[in-house]
Amino acid sequence: MSEAKKEIRVATGDRAILPEGTKLVPIFIMGKQYRVPETMTIQKAVEYAGYQFIRSCGCRGGICGACPTVYRIAGDYHLHFCLACQTVVQADMYLTQLPFFPANRAAYDIEKVDASAETIMKLYPEVMKCVACNTCTKACPMEIEVMEYVNAAMRGDIAKAARLSFDCIQCGLCSSRCPAQIQHFHLAQLCRRLHAKYQVPAAQHLKPRVADINAGKFVNMLKELVAGDEDGLRKLYVDREMEPQESSDWQPQDKNFL
């Protein structure tokens, strides 16, 4: 039998159990030194140090944008940007988190705008002040070509701006660094919505389906299922015609419930 059998002391939840001899490294949270295990993420190291997050913590999985973090390593002038939940601590890192960054968001009526450079200019005129320093791109923890999409938006290439910005988690690091005071992530969101609504063709097949539903076409079919007994439902379930994986022209035999 393996040794594991003797010692099943399993870490629960998000708290780690540290083995004997775990190496601790010094980090500086807002300038104050704490010693934390070297393998931890910044997020868990801050908790290990004794903080309880109210801000700067969300999904803990790199997608919500709540934990943007800025750090320097002692003795090195380079500034680094990351997500605290996705980055392992390093010895002598001086860090702070950016729980919020002010950014004006222009209000608009999505039904009354168009996907043009004019819309961008009207809602976010500061875009034109971009000095092409690329600082925004360097600050992005998602490795988005931020300056590229800002330039695309400036030219009215909304489609490109939408595509390039797709992975944006709206953490705000780009806007915190911009010498031109651009509010990138709101601009990017505008571009994605304009692109999806006005440049990509609408799903024509959706319209008759929505009309049918609004006319109550499926109400009675669903009522029958709601009232159905379990044996009957089991039979219907087992007898479902399965659409194949490769199915460009596939049609079901039974079209009574379509």
Partner: protein, 559 residues
């Protein structure tokens, strides 16, 4: 970074057995699947839902006698943070509105948008930031019968069959009927759906679907939906006021017993305040961060069941809270990815699950619950798990097999997000296996609602993961994003209708129901200093807490 020398040593055993396993795999020889009796045995002994240990009958409230996991029973059998008098509630009233939405995820935001569209002033309050919710973590997609070969009828059959025919039928009908309406709504709001060049929505199969109806927006559908809904709510800021870092701690009622808003705690100034509202929507999500039976979770930081506690004290019964979805393969190493999901596709592509000796111990395509139970048994009963330096236990998922079976480059091509996620920590999953363990993924149950999203308490609505019944005992992929949007919208629409027909004034606001709940606790001889809602999970180390001499904890937070 990467695996420790000890783990690399263990991986040699995986590599040693790999040629033989590949040979078997090429011949189509799988590890023997369990019989139905075998499945039942391993489920009853090791699946957290079936195990008698770690669960108990709840002694108070409208679902008294139901059997729940201890961690959840603990928050139900807890005291309120405080009970204040009606006069004090009046004094604490900071806002009055028509519709109050508690919860800032996709469900709450859908409710806020629809209540506004139906003529109401709305306050949306959330304990974290607007959008910090499980919604953003949903990657797979959103179901909806939008294609000609499909209809709500077939979607219904898939949902109820997937839920082992236990689902609440009326909720399934609402879910499937509204699905295409939701897809169209999101398209109209400017969601970047994956489409064909002519605009036709791209659809795929999901587990348990008879027609292709999984819609997606890249591999971050939930995030894309949340971004659009939140952005749209900001366009309507004149009518939708958002209160962040404001945690609801109790529903309040008026003299007629109708919901009248909620008591809130400002997490930063530590003040309490009241939002008075004619209608209230609970859209607070699930309970992953209670870490049921110690499991790691895929859930976000705020998933602590607050809305369930508040709704339950207000008199709303629970449904299906005995049932939790565990995903068999959550990350067990590295620590920074703990609990995060590894898609079933990895096993679908041919990767074996292996114990510390490099041996197979389970058929890789058992149902989710059975697969999870087998992994737990291998680790905890047989002691064949791999223990990490941070005290985690797990088994190997042999992803390098995919490179051999599907050809070089297959891992990176088929699993781009996972590949990058591990490479970040110096682990190349095309060359070395991943360490996995089941992870707490989804709360199947929740507050009982009608298909209008109304609860049994007048003026109180609920939507999304905070509710139970629509998925029965098992949820299909792609139906959670649908659940929150369908029932979020219904909650908003019906809350607005309720406000329009509202008679009289909100008067005599009180917390009498909380007082009564405390009396019930006393009558059941539950003596406890536990406080709920938890608000946040507590990850402070014991060593730290011992030295916080002047501090105590209320729920999960320092007070």
């Amino acid at each position: 970074m990467g695996y420790t020398p000890e783990m690399l040593e263990l991986i040699k055993k995986v590599e040693a057995s790999r040629p033989e396993r590949l040979e078997r795999s090429r011949k189509g020889i799988d590890f023997e699947a369990l019989t139905l009796a075998g499945r039942e045995e391993v489920l009853s002994r090791f699946h957290p839902d079936y195990k008698a240990a770690g669960r108990r009958d709840i002694k108070v409230g409208p679902s008294k006698g139901e059997n729940y996991p201890d961690e959840f029973a603990d928050v139900l059998e807890s005291k309120a943070r405080l009970i204040v008098s009606g006069a004090q509630l009046e004094k604490l009233t900071a806002y009055e509105t028509e519709v109050l939405v508690i919860g800032g995820g996709g469900g709450g935001t859908s409710a806020a948008l629809m209540a506004q569209e139906n003529g109401c002033k709305v306050i949306l309050a959330t304990k974290l930031r607007h959008g910090d919710a499980n919604t953003v973590m949903a990657e797979g997609g959103i179901q909806g019968a939008t294609q000609e070969v499909d209809s709500p009828y077939y979607h219904y059959l898939d949902v109820i069959g997937g839920g082992h025919f236990t689902n609440t039928p009326e909720l399934v009908a609402a879910l499937t009927n509204d699905a295409p309406l939701v897809i169209e709504w999101l398209e109209r709001l400017g969601l970047m759906f994956d489409k064909k060049p002519d605009g036709r929505l791209q659809v795929r199969h999901g587990g348990g679907t008879c027609r292709k109806r999984m819609h997606s927006s890249g591999d971050m559908t939930g995030s894309a939906i949340m971004r659009v809904l939140r952005d749209e709510s900001r366009n309507r800021a004149a009518d939708i006021k958002v209160l962040e870092f404001s945690s609801a701690v109790e529903i309040i009622k008026d003299s007629k017993g109708r919901a009248a808003g909620a008591l809130f705690y400002n997490l930063e100034t530590e003040e309490y305040f009241v939002v008075k509202a004619k209608a209230t929507v609970i859209a607070t999500g699930g309970y992953g961060r209670l870490h049921i039976q110690g499991f790691a979770t895929t859930n976000h930081y705020g998933a602590t069941a607050d809305g369930l506690v508040m709704g339950y004290r207000a008199g709303v019964p629970l449904a299906f809270m005995h049932s939790t979805q565990y995903h068999p393969t959550g990350v067990a190493f590295p620590e920074q990815n703990i609990g995060l999901l590894i898609t079933e596709k990895v096993r679908g592509l041919g990767a074996n699950l292996l114990n510390i000796n490099g041996e197979q111990f389970v058929f890789e395509r058992e149902p989710r619950d059975v697969e999870s139970a087998c992994i737990i048994r291998e680790c905890l009963e047989r002691g064949n798990g791999i223990i990490t330096a941070t005290g985690r236990v797990g088994v190997w998922l042999d992803s390098p097999m995919i490179e051999v079976l599907e050809g070089p480059g297959a891992v990176k091509r088929e699993l781009p997000a996972k590949y990058i996620q591990f490479m970040r920590y110096g682990i190349d999953i095309s060359q070395v296996p991943m360490l996995v363990y089941p992870t707490l993924h989804y709360q199947n149950g929740g507050l009982k609602i009608a298909d209008s999203s109304a609860t049994n308490v007048d003026g109180l609505f609920a939507a999304g993961e905070a509710t139970g019944g629509v998925h029965g005992e098992n949820r299909l992929m792609g139906n959670s994003l649908l659940d929150i949007t369908v029932f979020g919208r219904r909650a908003g629409i019906n809350a607005a209708a309720y406000v329009k027909n509202f008679s009289g004034e909100l008067s005599g606001i009180n917390m009498d129901h909380v007082d009564a709940y405390h009396k019930e606790l006393a009558a059941a001889r539950i003596e406890t200093d536990r406080v709920a809602p938890l608000i946040l999970p507590n990850y402070t180390r014991d060593e730290t807490m011992e030295k916080q001499l002047t501090t105590h904890y209320q729920g999960g937070i320092r007070a």
